[in-house]
């Protein structure tokens, strides 16, 4: 494919942009699922845009670090943000709802994918959501939610509990919201 014109003259009737809308790409997830997506939505990911420009987009773009479920979510996000006539307010609302139902594990999958695909807006949104969930939670909550066991020695653990007792007290209930 020829390199894209970086400075289109007429903004409103950019033929390149029109072509992108109609052209579709196929993305392939790590578990072999294939998704078609319009090029205008796909290039919101800087990583995909680079691949398209470097002409590795002959047919299918393989994304070996993203599984199918996560890729499906990411594509939903990209489609919304590439939608014609969606106002900033609508997009903001969509972002809010998009992340609100996700459990922590899914948020982490999405944040990894957004980082890999270089989608700034999504990365920011998911990071913010993860941080919001962590506010005023106990150490135990963190371990339960991230499915991690303490890898401190019992002595270290005891020492920390003694030194920073407040980190174990006065926090929100362990129920995930």
């Amino acid at each position: 494919m020829a390199r894209k014109n970086r400075n289109p003259v007429g903004k409103n009737v950019d033929p390149e942009a029109q072509k992108k809308k109609t052209r579709t790409l196929t993305l392939k997830s790590s578990d072999g699922q294939e998704f078609s997506i319009s090029e205008s939505a796909a290039v919101l990911s800087i990583a995909i845009e680079n691949m398209v420009e470097d002409d590795c987009a002959g047919g299918v773009i393989p994304l070996p670090l993203v599984d199918g479920g996560t890729l499906a979510r990411v594509i939903t996000y990209l489609n919304k943000h590439a939608e014609d006539g969606a106002s900033d307010e609508e997009k903001r609302k969509f972002d809010e709802e998009f992340v609100s139902g996700m459990e922590m594990g899914v948020l982490f999958d999405v944040v990894l994918a957004a980082n890999y695909l270089d989608i700034r807006g999504l990365l920011r949104e998911v990071r913010r959501r993860i941080a919001d969930r962590m506010k005023n939670k106990s150490v135990e909550w963190v371990r339960k939610t991230f499915h991690i066991e303490s890898d401190f020695t019992p002595e270290e653990e005891e020492q920390m509990k003694k030194e920073f007792a407040w980190a174990w007290e006065g926090v929100d209930s362990d129920v995930d919201d």
Binding site: Q33, F35, D67, G68, G69, A72, R73, I75, T76, G105, F108, V111, L112, N115, L123, R127, R128, I130, A131, M134, K135, N136, K137, S138, V139, V142, R143, F146, H147, I148, E149, S150, D151, F152, M160, E163, F164, A165, W166, A167, E169, G170, V171
Partner: protein
């Protein structure tokens, strides 16, 4: 698309159920460090600590956290608070790795409750880690070298100091400078501030400091100037003070003594906002404005009779003349924004007195509790205020009082609005954002007429002030004896958070 999401999400659940522990640890360890840091940086340093105590991976992240923000008043430890806080800050700093610290913020206040001193070594640590923003509130020990090391710190762009008894001068690259408190060694102060070419924002809230404008002022970039508690003196009669700041856009003056001025003249082509509030001497000096770009004018005080307030007609204006006369022109939104800002300025002092306009306008601000959610007025000790006995105004007052942790003397005066029937019901159910009035020891309520709202205020003040010594109530003279007896009886029956509080009626 939908079908695929459903199909996959159940299979991913299955996978997660199979090896939950491995998967969690594995996921965390594959996560790029910069993402973990960005997540932790969005949390308060306290919340970030709780997460980091969970595992070594998080702890590693913790060691390179760029924002270190410590608020003593938000620290949760109940026993040995000062000791625990000190340990926490020391521990955090001792465990930090070589990466840069962008922000160090230490707010150890309110002054009268916090026994912890800012350790000079914490500041030194931040400077060695190329700190860009430094905020220090409280008392500090080992200040000999402080000024020298802060002001030779090349990375610093924002500095906010509210320190007691400190002698200093500043660096040449600074853009924002905020100084609160008392300062000693002021001989060269004015000179060194006013020759700091990089400054964009300057806020001086310094008590008993006579600020004289030096002859050479070199502040070509200064856009925002806020002066509080200063004693301003006139260099040459009627000379324009502010013409020397060519880029100045916002100017505000609170509680600045201007008694030595006959004419206070401001001419500046770029000035868009001007606020002058509660400045002793302002009622006797003529204010002369030559500010064609002015879009916002706020004046709180007594307006002298012959004033030349040439405010452009389309500008937003709020003029408070004395306690009761208050006029404004402009949009409702602008009024809300202005009044909230003005309140922040006015409540940043120790003794404050306001007519009923303040509460009246504040009560008109939509979503006031949310707007004031992060405000704490840590200096206010004494408040005298008038208001109408209506539910909305009482609610606003309670919200304000609960934001003043060391407020101890409160005097409330009810005014009956002329030509208006006061709603006698007016029970207040929802007290969004109102907490305990921990500092209140002395309350006076004047002109209590005994309607539902007024009684509710008395009841809430008694129930929420655990350290109250005395509440003095002066009844409205128009009440008849039977009514007075009834109201006194009702108030005496209220539950008191401080059982020893004395109630007096007049």
């Amino acid at each position: 698309m939908v079908r695929i999401i459903e199909g996959e999400s159940s299979s991913s659940n299955r996978r997660r159920r199979r090896r939950p522990i491995d998967r969690g640890a594995e996921r965390l360890s594959t996560m790029p460090q910069h993402i973990l840091i960005e997540i932790l940086s969005r949390l308060s340093t306290l919340d970030a600590a709780r997460v980091s105590f969970g595992s070594r991976i998080w702890m590693t992240t913790w060691r390179s956290l760029p924002n270190l923000i410590f608020y003593y008043s938000q620290f949760p430890a109940k026993v040995n608070k000062a000791h625990s806080f000190l340990r926490f800050v020391n521990w955090t700093i001792a465990h930090h790795d070589d990466s840069n610290v962008k922000i160090l913020e230490l707010r150890l206040g309110p002054m009268s409750y916090c026994e912890v001193l800012i350790n000079y070594q914490w500041v030194e640590f931040a400077i060695q880690h190329s700190v860009q923003k430094l905020v220090l509130h409280g008392r500090i020990c080992g200040t000999q070298n402080l000024a020298y090391s802060i002001f030779s710190c090349r990375s610093l762009v924002k500095l906010e100091l509210a320190l007691h008894e400190l002698a200093l001068s500043w660096p040449e690259t600074i853009e924002k400078l905020v100084l609160h408190g008392r300062i000693c060694g002021t001989q060269n102060l004015a000179y060194s501030i006013f020759s700091c070419r990089s400054l964009v924002k300057l806020e001086l809230a310094l008590h008993e400091l006579a600020l004289s404008w030096p002859e050479t002022i070199e502040l070509p970039n200064l856009r925002k100037l806020k002066l509080k508690f200063l004693l301003l003196s006139e260099m040459i009669p009627s000379q324009d003070l502010f013409s020397k700041f060519p880029a100045l856009e916002k100017l505000s003056m609170f509680f600045c003594n201007v008694t030595s001025f006959n004419i206070f003249s401001i001419s500046s082509s770029r000035l868009t906002q001007f606020t002058m509030s509660n400045c002793p001497g302002m009622e006797n000096c003529l204010i002369r404005l030559q500010t064609p770009s002015l879009s916002k004018f706020v004046y709180v005080g007594c307006v002298p009779r012959e004033n030349v307030l040439q405010v452009p007609p389309c500008a937003f204006q709020l003029v408070v003349d004395g306690d009761d006369s208050c006029t404004w022109t402009g949009s409702q939104n602008e009024l809300s924004r202005t009044i909230v800002k003005l309140t922040r300025g006015l409540f940043g002092t120790r003794y404050m007195s306001a007519g009923r306009w303040l509460i009246q306008y504040l009560s008109m601000v939509p979503e006031l509790p949310r707007r004031l959610a992060s405000d704490r007025f840590n200096y206010l000790v004494m408040l005298t205020i008038s208001l109408w006995p209506v539910a909305r105004h009482v609610k606003t007052l309670m919200l304000l009082v609960s934001k003043c942790p060391i407020l101890s003397v409160l005097s409330i005066s009810f005014e009956t609005p002329q030509g208006r029937v006061v709603n006698r019901g007016g029970y207040i159910e929802d007290y969004e954002g109102v907490g305990v009035f921990g500092g209140l020891t002395d309350i006076t309520i004047k002109n209590l007429g005994g309607n539902g709202t007024e009684m509710m205020l008395a009841r809430h003040l008694l129930a929420r002030s655990p350290h109250l010594h005395k509440m003095k109530i002066e009844m409205n003279p128009h009440l008849d004896d039977v009514d007075v007896d009834l109201k006194i009886h009702q108030i005496l029956e209220c539950w008191k958070a401080s059982p020893d509080a004395n109630l007096m009626f007049d």
